[in-house]
Symmetry: C2
Subunit: 315 residues, 2 copies
Protein backbone atom coordinates (compact mmCIF):
# COMPACT_ATOMS: atom_id res chain seq x y z
CA UNK A 1 0.00 0.00 0.00
CA UNK A 2 2.73 2.49 0.98
CA UNK A 3 4.82 1.29 -1.96
CA UNK A 4 2.06 2.12 -4.42
CA UNK A 5 1.47 5.55 -2.91
CA UNK A 6 5.21 6.21 -2.93
CA UNK A 7 5.51 5.18 -6.59
CA UNK A 8 2.63 7.49 -7.55
CA UNK A 9 4.25 10.36 -5.70
CA UNK A 10 7.70 9.79 -7.23
CA UNK A 11 6.18 9.53 -10.71
CA UNK A 12 4.30 12.80 -10.09
CA UNK A 13 7.04 14.83 -8.35
CA UNK A 14 10.17 13.29 -9.88
CA UNK A 15 13.43 12.94 -8.00
CA UNK A 16 16.07 15.57 -7.30
CA UNK A 17 14.77 17.96 -9.95
CA UNK A 18 14.39 15.41 -12.74
CA UNK A 19 11.96 12.64 -13.65
CA UNK A 20 12.13 9.51 -11.48
CA UNK A 21 12.56 6.11 -13.07
CA UNK A 22 10.54 3.88 -10.76
CA UNK A 23 10.99 0.10 -10.64
CA UNK A 24 8.54 -1.87 -8.53
CA UNK A 25 9.39 -5.22 -6.99
CA UNK A 26 6.86 -7.49 -5.30
CA UNK A 27 6.02 -11.17 -5.16
CA UNK A 28 3.18 -10.37 -7.55
CA UNK A 29 1.13 -7.48 -8.89
CA UNK A 30 -2.60 -6.86 -9.22
CA UNK A 31 -3.85 -6.87 -12.80
CA UNK A 32 -5.17 -3.36 -12.36
CA UNK A 33 -4.78 -0.38 -10.07
CA UNK A 34 -0.99 -0.37 -9.75
CA UNK A 35 0.90 2.71 -10.95
CA UNK A 36 2.51 2.61 -14.37
CA UNK A 37 6.14 1.59 -13.75
CA UNK A 38 8.56 -1.15 -14.63
CA UNK A 39 7.70 -4.22 -12.56
CA UNK A 40 9.79 -7.12 -11.30
CA UNK A 41 7.87 -10.03 -9.83
CA UNK A 42 9.64 -12.59 -7.66
CA UNK A 43 10.57 -13.47 -4.10
CA UNK A 44 13.58 -12.06 -2.29
CA UNK A 45 13.83 -15.49 -0.67
CA UNK A 46 15.19 -16.45 -4.08
CA UNK A 47 18.78 -15.21 -4.33
CA UNK A 48 18.40 -14.96 -8.12
CA UNK A 49 15.68 -12.34 -7.71
CA UNK A 50 17.81 -10.45 -5.18
CA UNK A 51 20.72 -10.49 -7.63
CA UNK A 52 18.49 -9.31 -10.50
CA UNK A 53 17.39 -6.33 -8.40
CA UNK A 54 20.93 -5.51 -7.26
CA UNK A 55 22.19 -5.52 -10.84
CA UNK A 56 19.77 -2.68 -11.65
CA UNK A 57 21.91 -0.40 -9.47
CA UNK A 58 19.10 1.79 -8.25
CA UNK A 59 20.19 5.04 -6.61
CA UNK A 60 17.58 4.59 -3.89
CA UNK A 61 16.01 1.37 -2.67
CA UNK A 62 12.87 1.52 -0.56
CA UNK A 63 12.58 -1.82 1.22
CA UNK A 64 9.00 -2.06 2.49
CA UNK A 65 8.25 -5.74 2.09
CA UNK A 66 7.01 -7.64 5.09
CA UNK A 67 4.63 -10.16 6.48
CA UNK A 68 2.37 -8.15 8.77
CA UNK A 69 2.41 -8.49 12.55
CA UNK A 70 -0.58 -10.78 13.06
CA UNK A 71 0.57 -13.17 10.35
CA UNK A 72 4.21 -13.19 11.56
CA UNK A 73 2.90 -14.10 15.01
CA UNK A 74 0.93 -17.05 13.63
CA UNK A 75 3.50 -18.26 11.06
CA UNK A 76 6.73 -18.16 13.06
CA UNK A 77 9.11 -19.68 10.50
CA UNK A 78 7.57 -17.87 7.53
CA UNK A 79 7.77 -14.53 9.35
CA UNK A 80 11.50 -14.89 10.01
CA UNK A 81 12.16 -16.11 6.48
CA UNK A 82 10.33 -13.22 4.80
CA UNK A 83 10.96 -10.39 7.24
CA UNK A 84 14.59 -11.14 8.12
CA UNK A 85 16.26 -13.59 5.73
CA UNK A 86 14.84 -11.99 2.58
CA UNK A 87 16.25 -8.65 3.76
CA UNK A 88 19.61 -10.36 4.28
CA UNK A 89 19.43 -11.76 0.73
CA UNK A 90 18.86 -8.29 -0.69
CA UNK A 91 21.77 -6.78 1.26
CA UNK A 92 24.05 -9.64 0.38
CA UNK A 93 23.17 -9.24 -3.31
CA UNK A 94 24.04 -5.54 -3.05
CA UNK A 95 27.35 -6.43 -1.38
CA UNK A 96 28.21 -8.88 -4.18
CA UNK A 97 27.15 -6.40 -6.88
CA UNK A 98 29.54 -3.87 -5.38
CA UNK A 99 32.37 -6.37 -4.90
CA UNK A 100 32.11 -7.91 -8.36
CA UNK A 101 32.12 -4.60 -10.22
CA UNK A 102 33.88 -1.32 -9.59
CA UNK A 103 33.52 -1.30 -5.79
CA UNK A 104 31.79 2.08 -5.98
CA UNK A 105 28.09 1.20 -5.96
CA UNK A 106 26.55 2.21 -2.62
CA UNK A 107 22.80 2.81 -2.85
CA UNK A 108 20.68 4.68 -0.36
CA UNK A 109 18.47 2.05 1.29
CA UNK A 110 15.38 3.19 3.18
CA UNK A 111 13.94 0.44 5.36
CA UNK A 112 10.42 0.70 6.75
CA UNK A 113 10.85 -0.41 10.34
CA UNK A 114 8.18 -0.14 12.99
CA UNK A 115 7.49 1.02 16.53
CA UNK A 116 6.89 -2.70 17.18
CA UNK A 117 10.66 -2.92 17.82
CA UNK A 118 9.75 -1.59 21.28
CA UNK A 119 8.05 -3.62 24.01
CA UNK A 120 6.49 -2.77 27.38
CA UNK A 121 7.24 -1.56 29.99
CA UNK A 122 7.95 1.90 28.55
CA UNK A 123 8.89 5.31 29.84
CA UNK A 124 6.13 7.94 29.42
CA UNK A 125 7.69 9.01 26.14
CA UNK A 126 10.15 6.77 24.32
CA UNK A 127 13.38 8.52 23.40
CA UNK A 128 15.87 7.59 20.73
CA UNK A 129 18.21 5.72 23.08
CA UNK A 130 15.56 3.39 24.52
CA UNK A 131 16.17 -0.35 24.17
CA UNK A 132 14.52 -2.47 21.50
CA UNK A 133 12.75 -5.22 23.44
CA UNK A 134 10.06 -6.38 21.01
CA UNK A 135 7.15 -8.49 22.22
CA UNK A 136 6.17 -9.81 18.79
CA UNK A 137 8.07 -11.76 16.15
CA UNK A 138 7.33 -8.95 13.70
CA UNK A 139 9.03 -6.45 16.01
CA UNK A 140 11.98 -8.78 16.59
CA UNK A 141 12.41 -9.22 12.82
CA UNK A 142 12.33 -5.48 12.21
CA UNK A 143 14.85 -4.85 15.01
CA UNK A 144 17.13 -7.55 13.60
CA UNK A 145 17.01 -5.98 10.13
CA UNK A 146 17.88 -2.59 11.63
CA UNK A 147 21.06 -4.04 13.17
CA UNK A 148 22.04 -5.72 9.91
CA UNK A 149 21.34 -2.59 7.85
CA UNK A 150 23.39 -0.54 10.29
CA UNK A 151 26.34 -2.89 9.98
CA UNK A 152 26.20 -3.04 6.17
CA UNK A 153 26.09 0.77 6.20
CA UNK A 154 28.99 1.08 8.63
CA UNK A 155 31.00 -1.04 6.21
CA UNK A 156 30.06 1.27 3.31
CA UNK A 157 28.16 -1.41 1.37
CA UNK A 158 24.93 0.57 1.48
CA UNK A 159 23.93 3.97 2.86
CA UNK A 160 21.01 2.75 4.92
CA UNK A 161 18.42 4.24 7.24
CA UNK A 162 15.61 2.52 9.14
CA UNK A 163 12.57 4.62 9.83
CA UNK A 164 10.29 3.31 12.57
CA UNK A 165 6.85 4.07 11.27
CA UNK A 166 3.94 4.77 13.58
CA UNK A 167 0.84 2.69 12.95
CA UNK A 168 -0.41 3.87 9.57
CA UNK A 169 -3.92 5.20 9.89
CA UNK A 170 -6.29 5.46 8.06
CA UNK A 171 -5.14 2.49 5.98
CA UNK A 172 -7.18 2.26 2.75
CA UNK A 173 -8.55 -0.99 1.33
CA UNK A 174 -10.16 -3.67 3.44
CA UNK A 175 -9.30 -5.20 6.84
CA UNK A 176 -6.05 -7.26 6.78
CA UNK A 177 -4.28 -9.55 9.25
CA UNK A 178 -2.29 -6.80 10.97
CA UNK A 179 -3.09 -6.77 14.68
CA UNK A 180 -3.19 -2.98 14.42
CA UNK A 181 -5.78 -3.07 11.64
CA UNK A 182 -8.72 -2.04 13.82
CA UNK A 183 -7.24 1.44 14.38
CA UNK A 184 -7.99 2.04 10.69
CA UNK A 185 -11.08 -0.15 10.40
CA UNK A 186 -13.07 1.89 12.96
CA UNK A 187 -12.57 5.02 10.84
CA UNK A 188 -12.52 3.73 7.26
CA UNK A 189 -15.41 1.27 7.45
CA UNK A 190 -17.94 3.78 8.92
CA UNK A 191 -16.83 6.41 6.37
CA UNK A 192 -17.70 3.86 3.69
CA UNK A 193 -21.07 2.97 5.24
CA UNK A 194 -19.88 -0.34 6.69
CA UNK A 195 -19.75 -1.69 10.25
CA UNK A 196 -16.41 -2.04 12.07
CA UNK A 197 -15.29 -4.14 15.01
CA UNK A 198 -13.43 -2.55 17.94
CA UNK A 199 -11.51 -5.35 19.73
CA UNK A 200 -9.97 -3.22 22.53
CA UNK A 201 -11.25 -0.74 25.16
CA UNK A 202 -11.49 2.87 23.94
CA UNK A 203 -8.92 3.89 26.56
CA UNK A 204 -6.15 2.29 24.50
CA UNK A 205 -3.60 4.92 23.48
CA UNK A 206 -1.56 4.54 20.32
CA UNK A 207 0.83 6.28 17.93
CA UNK A 208 -0.45 7.20 14.47
CA UNK A 209 0.48 8.84 11.19
CA UNK A 210 -1.40 9.00 7.89
CA UNK A 211 -0.25 7.15 4.75
CA UNK A 212 0.44 10.63 3.31
CA UNK A 213 2.82 11.38 6.19
CA UNK A 214 4.44 7.95 5.88
CA UNK A 215 5.17 8.55 2.18
CA UNK A 216 6.62 11.90 3.21
CA UNK A 217 8.90 10.12 5.71
CA UNK A 218 10.15 7.73 3.02
CA UNK A 219 10.90 10.56 0.58
CA UNK A 220 12.61 12.60 3.29
CA UNK A 221 14.72 9.60 4.37
CA UNK A 222 15.78 9.05 0.75
CA UNK A 223 17.33 12.50 0.43
CA UNK A 224 18.59 13.12 3.98
CA UNK A 225 22.33 13.54 4.63
CA UNK A 226 22.81 10.39 6.72
CA UNK A 227 26.12 11.61 8.13
CA UNK A 228 23.89 13.64 10.43
CA UNK A 229 22.80 10.36 12.07
CA UNK A 230 26.34 9.73 13.40
CA UNK A 231 26.08 5.99 12.93
CA UNK A 232 22.70 5.57 14.64
CA UNK A 233 20.64 4.84 11.58
CA UNK A 234 17.32 3.93 13.21
CA UNK A 235 14.92 6.81 13.62
CA UNK A 236 11.62 7.01 15.49
CA UNK A 237 9.29 8.84 13.13
CA UNK A 238 7.02 11.61 14.42
CA UNK A 239 3.37 10.77 14.96
CA UNK A 240 0.24 11.57 16.90
CA UNK A 241 -0.38 9.99 20.31
CA UNK A 242 -4.12 9.58 20.93
CA UNK A 243 -6.66 7.20 22.47
CA UNK A 244 -9.30 5.21 20.61
CA UNK A 245 -11.89 7.45 22.32
CA UNK A 246 -10.15 10.49 20.78
CA UNK A 247 -10.18 8.77 17.39
CA UNK A 248 -13.92 8.20 17.74
CA UNK A 249 -14.56 11.80 18.78
CA UNK A 250 -12.66 13.02 15.71
CA UNK A 251 -14.79 10.70 13.57
CA UNK A 252 -17.91 12.18 15.18
CA UNK A 253 -16.66 15.72 14.37
CA UNK A 254 -15.91 14.87 10.75
CA UNK A 255 -18.72 12.41 9.88
CA UNK A 256 -21.32 12.58 12.65
CA UNK A 257 -23.02 10.19 15.08
CA UNK A 258 -24.24 7.88 12.28
CA UNK A 259 -20.64 6.98 11.48
CA UNK A 260 -19.77 6.42 15.14
CA UNK A 261 -22.77 4.10 15.56
CA UNK A 262 -21.17 1.77 12.99
CA UNK A 263 -18.44 0.85 15.53
CA UNK A 264 -19.21 -2.39 17.36
CA UNK A 265 -17.17 -3.17 20.52
CA UNK A 266 -16.18 -6.84 20.44
CA UNK A 267 -13.27 -7.49 22.85
CA UNK A 268 -10.58 -9.84 21.46
CA UNK A 269 -8.08 -10.99 24.12
CA UNK A 270 -5.48 -12.00 21.49
CA UNK A 271 -5.49 -8.53 19.91
CA UNK A 272 -5.53 -6.86 23.34
CA UNK A 273 -2.51 -8.91 24.42
CA UNK A 274 -0.50 -7.81 21.37
CA UNK A 275 -1.58 -4.17 21.53
CA UNK A 276 -0.89 -3.84 25.27
CA UNK A 277 2.79 -4.48 24.55
CA UNK A 278 2.98 -1.67 22.00
CA UNK A 279 4.32 1.81 22.64
CA UNK A 280 1.95 4.76 22.58
CA UNK A 281 4.03 7.92 22.93
CA UNK A 282 7.45 9.13 21.77
CA UNK A 283 9.90 11.97 22.10
CA UNK A 284 10.83 12.52 18.43
CA UNK A 285 12.99 15.64 18.71
CA UNK A 286 15.69 13.97 16.62
CA UNK A 287 13.47 13.17 13.62
CA UNK A 288 11.70 16.52 13.91
CA UNK A 289 15.05 18.29 13.66
CA UNK A 290 15.86 16.18 10.62
CA UNK A 291 12.76 17.46 8.84
CA UNK A 292 10.24 14.64 9.31
CA UNK A 293 6.67 15.92 9.81
CA UNK A 294 3.40 14.24 10.85
CA UNK A 295 -0.18 15.21 11.74
CA UNK A 296 -0.90 16.94 15.05
CA UNK A 297 -4.57 15.95 15.56
CA UNK A 298 -6.64 12.97 14.52
CA UNK A 299 -9.13 14.97 12.44
CA UNK A 300 -6.20 15.82 10.11
CA UNK A 301 -5.58 12.10 9.71
CA UNK A 302 -9.23 11.49 8.82
CA UNK A 303 -9.19 14.35 6.32
CA UNK A 304 -6.06 12.95 4.66
CA UNK A 305 -8.01 9.73 4.13
CA UNK A 306 -11.01 11.60 2.71
CA UNK A 307 -8.74 13.58 0.34
CA UNK A 308 -6.42 10.78 -0.77
CA UNK A 309 -8.29 7.50 -0.56
CA UNK A 310 -12.05 7.69 -0.19
CA UNK A 311 -13.76 6.64 -3.42
CA UNK A 312 -17.26 8.16 -3.28
CA UNK A 313 -19.75 5.35 -3.73
CA UNK A 314 -16.88 2.87 -4.10
CA UNK A 315 -15.42 0.21 -1.80
Amino acid sequence: MLGQKLAVRLARDGWQGGPAEVILHDIGFPTSGAPAARRIAGSLSDTGTAQQLAEMRADVIFHLAAIVSGEAEQAFELGWQVNMFATWNLLEALRLERAESDGLYCPRLVFSSSIAVFGAPFPDRIGDDFMTAPLTSYGAQKATCELIINDFSRKGIIDGVSIRLPTICVRPGRPNKAASGFFSDIIREPLNGRDAVLPVPDTVRHWHASPRSAVGFLVRAASLDLDRLEGRRSLNMPGLSCTVAEQIEALRDVAGAVAVARIEPEPDPAIMAIVSGWPCNFDTRRSNELGFVAETDFAQIIRAYLDDDLVPGGT
Copy 2:
Protein backbone atom coordinates in the same frame (compact mmCIF):
# COMPACT_ATOMS: atom_id res chain seq x y z
CA MET B 1 38.49 -21.06 26.65
CA LEU B 2 35.40 -20.34 28.75
CA GLY B 3 33.82 -23.54 27.45
CA GLN B 4 36.73 -25.62 28.73
CA LYS B 5 36.71 -23.93 32.12
CA LEU B 6 32.95 -24.40 32.34
CA ALA B 7 33.22 -28.09 31.46
CA VAL B 8 35.87 -28.62 34.13
CA ARG B 9 33.72 -26.88 36.71
CA LEU B 10 30.57 -28.83 35.81
CA ALA B 11 32.50 -32.11 35.89
CA ARG B 12 33.86 -31.15 39.32
CA ASP B 13 30.72 -29.71 40.93
CA GLY B 14 28.00 -31.65 39.11
CA TRP B 15 24.62 -30.20 38.31
CA GLN B 16 21.61 -29.72 40.57
CA GLY B 17 22.91 -32.11 43.21
CA GLY B 18 23.93 -34.92 40.86
CA PRO B 19 26.75 -35.63 38.44
CA ALA B 20 26.73 -33.60 35.22
CA GLU B 21 26.90 -35.34 31.87
CA VAL B 22 28.89 -32.88 29.78
CA ILE B 23 28.91 -32.94 25.97
CA LEU B 24 31.32 -30.61 24.19
CA HIS B 25 30.72 -29.29 20.70
CA ASP B 26 33.27 -27.40 18.66
CA ILE B 27 34.53 -27.29 15.10
CA GLY B 28 37.51 -29.28 16.32
CA PHE B 29 39.34 -30.27 19.50
CA PRO B 30 42.97 -30.12 20.56
CA THR B 31 44.61 -33.53 20.87
CA SER B 32 45.45 -32.81 24.50
CA GLY B 33 44.44 -30.50 27.30
CA ALA B 34 40.67 -30.64 26.85
CA PRO B 35 38.57 -31.92 29.75
CA ALA B 36 37.36 -35.51 29.65
CA ALA B 37 33.86 -35.38 28.17
CA ARG B 38 31.90 -36.64 25.21
CA ARG B 39 32.89 -34.59 22.16
CA ILE B 40 31.03 -33.70 18.97
CA ALA B 41 33.10 -32.09 16.24
CA GLY B 42 31.40 -30.23 13.40
CA SER B 43 30.19 -26.85 12.24
CA LEU B 44 26.84 -25.37 13.21
CA SER B 45 26.83 -23.91 9.71
CA ASP B 46 26.00 -27.50 8.75
CA THR B 47 22.33 -28.15 9.57
CA GLY B 48 23.14 -31.85 10.04
CA THR B 49 25.44 -31.01 12.95
CA ALA B 50 22.82 -28.72 14.45
CA GLN B 51 20.24 -31.49 14.18
CA GLN B 52 22.63 -34.01 15.75
CA LEU B 53 23.11 -31.70 18.73
CA ALA B 54 19.40 -30.98 19.08
CA GLU B 55 18.56 -34.69 19.12
CA MET B 56 20.69 -35.10 22.25
CA ARG B 57 18.05 -33.13 24.13
CA ALA B 58 20.42 -31.50 26.59
CA ASP B 59 18.76 -29.91 29.61
CA VAL B 60 21.07 -26.91 29.34
CA ILE B 61 22.87 -25.61 26.26
CA PHE B 62 25.72 -23.12 26.67
CA HIS B 63 26.19 -21.43 23.32
CA LEU B 64 29.59 -19.75 23.42
CA ALA B 65 30.80 -20.18 19.89
CA ALA B 66 31.92 -17.12 18.00
CA ILE B 67 34.42 -15.52 15.71
CA VAL B 68 36.13 -12.91 17.86
CA SER B 69 35.70 -9.18 17.35
CA GLY B 70 38.86 -8.39 15.40
CA GLU B 71 38.34 -11.29 13.02
CA ALA B 72 34.62 -10.53 12.52
CA GLU B 73 35.61 -6.98 11.60
CA GLN B 74 38.06 -8.21 8.96
CA ALA B 75 35.98 -11.10 7.58
CA PHE B 76 32.55 -9.52 7.21
CA GLU B 77 30.69 -12.39 5.55
CA LEU B 78 32.32 -15.09 7.68
CA GLY B 79 31.51 -13.20 10.87
CA TRP B 80 27.80 -13.01 10.05
CA GLN B 81 27.70 -16.64 8.94
CA VAL B 82 29.36 -17.98 12.10
CA ASN B 83 28.12 -15.55 14.72
CA MET B 84 24.53 -15.15 13.49
CA PHE B 85 23.46 -17.80 10.99
CA ALA B 86 25.03 -20.70 12.90
CA THR B 87 23.09 -19.59 15.98
CA TRP B 88 19.94 -19.54 13.88
CA ASN B 89 20.69 -23.08 12.68
CA LEU B 90 21.00 -24.30 16.25
CA LEU B 91 17.73 -22.66 17.32
CA GLU B 92 15.91 -23.92 14.26
CA ALA B 93 17.17 -27.46 14.94
CA LEU B 94 15.83 -27.18 18.50
CA ARG B 95 12.48 -25.97 17.14
CA LEU B 96 12.25 -28.92 14.75
CA GLU B 97 13.33 -31.38 17.46
CA ARG B 98 10.49 -30.11 19.62
CA ALA B 99 7.94 -30.06 16.79
CA GLU B 100 8.78 -33.51 15.46
CA SER B 101 8.61 -35.26 18.82
CA ASP B 102 6.38 -34.75 21.84
CA GLY B 103 6.30 -30.94 21.73
CA LEU B 104 7.61 -30.79 25.29
CA TYR B 105 11.36 -30.33 24.85
CA CYS B 106 12.37 -26.83 25.88
CA PRO B 107 16.04 -26.56 26.90
CA ARG B 108 17.60 -23.76 28.88
CA LEU B 109 19.91 -21.94 26.46
CA VAL B 110 22.60 -19.66 27.87
CA PHE B 111 24.09 -17.41 25.20
CA SER B 112 27.36 -15.60 25.80
CA SER B 113 26.66 -12.13 24.48
CA SER B 114 28.95 -9.16 24.93
CA ILE B 115 29.06 -5.53 26.00
CA ALA B 116 30.02 -4.93 22.35
CA VAL B 117 26.26 -4.77 21.66
CA PHE B 118 26.60 -1.17 22.91
CA GLY B 119 28.20 1.66 20.99
CA ALA B 120 29.21 5.23 21.87
CA PRO B 121 28.03 7.77 22.84
CA PHE B 122 27.09 6.36 26.24
CA PRO B 123 25.59 7.65 29.48
CA ASP B 124 28.04 7.66 32.43
CA ARG B 125 26.76 4.24 33.46
CA ILE B 126 24.84 2.07 31.02
CA GLY B 127 21.55 0.81 32.44
CA ASP B 128 19.50 -2.17 31.34
CA ASP B 129 17.15 -0.19 29.10
CA PHE B 130 19.89 1.48 27.04
CA MET B 131 19.78 0.96 23.27
CA THR B 132 21.97 -1.57 21.47
CA ALA B 133 23.83 0.48 18.86
CA PRO B 134 26.91 -1.64 18.13
CA LEU B 135 29.91 -0.16 16.33
CA THR B 136 31.42 -3.49 15.29
CA SER B 137 30.09 -6.40 13.26
CA TYR B 138 30.75 -8.65 16.26
CA GLY B 139 28.51 -6.48 18.43
CA ALA B 140 25.81 -6.35 15.74
CA GLN B 141 25.90 -10.14 15.43
CA LYS B 142 25.60 -10.62 19.19
CA ALA B 143 22.70 -8.13 19.39
CA THR B 144 20.94 -9.89 16.52
CA CYS B 145 21.28 -13.27 18.25
CA GLU B 146 19.83 -11.77 21.45
CA LEU B 147 16.71 -10.69 19.55
CA ILE B 148 16.31 -14.09 17.93
CA ILE B 149 16.87 -15.94 21.22
CA ASN B 150 14.32 -13.70 22.91
CA ASP B 151 11.73 -14.45 20.23
CA PHE B 152 12.32 -18.23 20.29
CA SER B 153 11.97 -18.04 24.08
CA ARG B 154 8.79 -15.98 23.93
CA LYS B 155 7.34 -18.70 21.71
CA GLY B 156 8.33 -21.39 24.25
CA ILE B 157 10.76 -23.16 21.90
CA ILE B 158 13.68 -22.61 24.24
CA ASP B 159 14.11 -21.00 27.67
CA GLY B 160 16.88 -18.64 26.69
CA VAL B 161 18.99 -15.99 28.36
CA SER B 162 21.74 -13.80 26.88
CA ILE B 163 24.42 -12.68 29.29
CA ARG B 164 26.48 -9.72 28.14
CA LEU B 165 29.95 -10.57 29.34
CA PRO B 166 32.46 -7.90 30.28
CA THR B 167 35.84 -8.22 28.60
CA ILE B 168 37.33 -11.38 30.08
CA CYS B 169 40.58 -10.59 31.79
CA VAL B 170 43.11 -12.11 32.41
CA ARG B 171 42.56 -14.41 29.42
CA PRO B 172 44.97 -17.38 29.59
CA GLY B 173 46.89 -18.71 26.60
CA ARG B 174 48.53 -16.51 24.01
CA PRO B 175 47.47 -13.30 22.24
CA ASN B 176 44.53 -13.84 19.82
CA LYS B 177 42.78 -11.68 17.23
CA ALA B 178 40.27 -10.12 19.65
CA ALA B 179 40.62 -6.34 19.58
CA SER B 180 40.29 -6.46 23.39
CA GLY B 181 43.19 -8.90 23.72
CA PHE B 182 45.71 -6.35 24.98
CA PHE B 183 43.77 -5.85 28.24
CA SER B 184 44.87 -9.41 29.10
CA ASP B 185 48.20 -9.38 27.29
CA ILE B 186 49.61 -6.55 29.42
CA ILE B 187 49.01 -8.60 32.57
CA ARG B 188 49.53 -12.21 31.44
CA GLU B 189 52.64 -11.75 29.34
CA PRO B 190 54.67 -9.91 32.05
CA LEU B 191 53.57 -12.47 34.66
CA ASN B 192 55.04 -15.11 32.36
CA GLY B 193 58.29 -13.20 31.79
CA ARG B 194 57.34 -12.01 28.31
CA ASP B 195 56.94 -8.54 26.80
CA ALA B 196 53.49 -7.15 25.96
CA VAL B 197 52.28 -4.45 23.61
CA LEU B 198 49.91 -1.72 24.82
CA PRO B 199 48.17 -0.25 21.73
CA VAL B 200 46.06 2.40 23.55
CA PRO B 201 46.72 5.25 26.04
CA ASP B 202 46.64 4.19 29.69
CA THR B 203 43.71 6.52 30.30
CA VAL B 204 41.41 4.08 28.48
CA ARG B 205 38.71 2.84 30.84
CA HIS B 206 37.12 -0.56 30.36
CA TRP B 207 34.82 -3.15 31.94
CA HIS B 208 36.39 -6.40 33.15
CA ALA B 209 35.66 -9.70 34.81
CA SER B 210 37.88 -12.75 35.35
CA PRO B 211 37.34 -16.07 33.54
CA ARG B 212 36.40 -17.47 36.98
CA SER B 213 33.62 -14.89 37.32
CA ALA B 214 32.49 -15.51 33.74
CA VAL B 215 32.12 -19.23 34.43
CA GLY B 216 30.16 -18.28 37.53
CA PHE B 217 27.84 -16.12 35.37
CA LEU B 218 27.22 -19.03 32.99
CA VAL B 219 26.42 -21.45 35.81
CA ARG B 220 24.15 -18.90 37.52
CA ALA B 221 22.34 -18.19 34.23
CA ALA B 222 21.78 -21.92 33.75
CA SER B 223 19.87 -22.32 37.01
CA LEU B 224 18.12 -18.94 37.31
CA ASP B 225 14.33 -18.73 37.26
CA LEU B 226 13.98 -16.82 33.99
CA ASP B 227 10.39 -15.80 34.75
CA ARG B 228 12.09 -13.17 36.90
CA LEU B 229 13.36 -11.52 33.70
CA GLU B 230 9.79 -10.66 32.60
CA GLY B 231 10.56 -11.21 28.94
CA ARG B 232 13.73 -9.13 28.84
CA ARG B 233 16.22 -11.92 28.48
CA SER B 234 19.41 -9.93 27.90
CA LEU B 235 21.38 -9.14 31.03
CA ASN B 236 24.39 -6.86 31.52
CA MET B 237 26.75 -8.85 33.73
CA PRO B 238 28.51 -7.23 36.67
CA GLY B 239 32.13 -6.27 36.23
CA LEU B 240 34.89 -3.93 37.30
CA SER B 241 35.32 -0.54 35.66
CA CYS B 242 38.95 0.54 35.64
CA THR B 243 41.57 2.28 33.51
CA VAL B 244 44.62 0.70 31.91
CA ALA B 245 46.70 2.77 34.37
CA GLU B 246 44.80 1.13 37.26
CA GLN B 247 45.44 -2.29 35.72
CA ILE B 248 49.14 -1.49 35.55
CA GLU B 249 49.23 -0.26 39.17
CA ALA B 250 47.56 -3.50 40.31
CA LEU B 251 50.20 -5.45 38.35
CA ARG B 252 52.90 -3.42 40.11
CA ASP B 253 51.35 -4.25 43.51
CA VAL B 254 51.13 -7.96 42.75
CA ALA B 255 54.28 -8.56 40.67
CA GLY B 256 56.52 -5.49 41.01
CA ALA B 257 58.18 -2.98 38.71
CA VAL B 258 59.99 -5.67 36.70
CA ALA B 259 56.66 -6.93 35.42
CA VAL B 260 55.43 -3.42 34.60
CA ALA B 261 58.62 -2.72 32.63
CA ARG B 262 57.61 -5.54 30.23
CA ILE B 263 54.75 -3.38 28.90
CA GLU B 264 55.67 -1.59 25.68
CA PRO B 265 53.40 1.29 24.52
CA GLU B 266 52.85 0.96 20.77
CA PRO B 267 49.79 2.99 19.67
CA ASP B 268 47.58 1.23 17.10
CA PRO B 269 44.95 3.52 15.54
CA ALA B 270 42.83 0.55 14.36
CA ILE B 271 42.59 -0.89 17.86
CA MET B 272 42.03 2.57 19.38
CA ALA B 273 39.17 3.20 16.94
CA ILE B 274 37.43 -0.04 17.94
CA VAL B 275 38.02 0.38 21.67
CA SER B 276 36.88 4.01 21.75
CA GLY B 277 33.43 2.81 20.70
CA TRP B 278 33.20 0.35 23.60
CA PRO B 279 31.39 0.95 26.87
CA CYS B 280 33.36 1.27 30.08
CA ASN B 281 30.88 1.46 32.95
CA PHE B 282 27.51 -0.07 33.81
CA ASP B 283 24.71 0.06 36.32
CA THR B 284 24.16 -3.67 36.93
CA ARG B 285 21.62 -3.57 39.76
CA ARG B 286 19.42 -6.02 37.89
CA SER B 287 22.04 -8.76 37.49
CA ASN B 288 23.35 -8.14 41.01
CA GLU B 289 19.85 -8.74 42.40
CA LEU B 290 19.67 -11.93 40.35
CA GLY B 291 22.78 -13.25 42.06
CA PHE B 292 25.54 -12.58 39.54
CA VAL B 293 28.86 -11.62 41.20
CA ALA B 294 32.18 -10.24 39.85
CA GLU B 295 35.46 -8.88 41.20
CA THR B 296 35.57 -5.46 42.85
CA ASP B 297 39.23 -4.53 42.28
CA PHE B 298 41.77 -5.41 39.61
CA ALA B 299 44.22 -7.10 41.98
CA GLN B 300 41.51 -9.75 42.61
CA ILE B 301 41.40 -10.33 38.85
CA ILE B 302 45.17 -10.80 38.70
CA ARG B 303 45.09 -13.19 41.66
CA ALA B 304 42.35 -15.25 39.99
CA TYR B 305 44.73 -15.66 37.03
CA LEU B 306 47.62 -16.65 39.30
CA ASP B 307 45.43 -19.19 41.12
CA ASP B 308 43.62 -20.67 38.14
CA ASP B 309 45.83 -20.35 35.08
CA LEU B 310 49.47 -19.53 35.68
CA VAL B 311 51.63 -22.55 34.96
CA PRO B 312 54.90 -21.97 36.88
CA GLY B 313 57.73 -22.26 34.38
CA GLY B 314 55.18 -23.02 31.61
CA THR B 315 53.92 -21.00 28.65
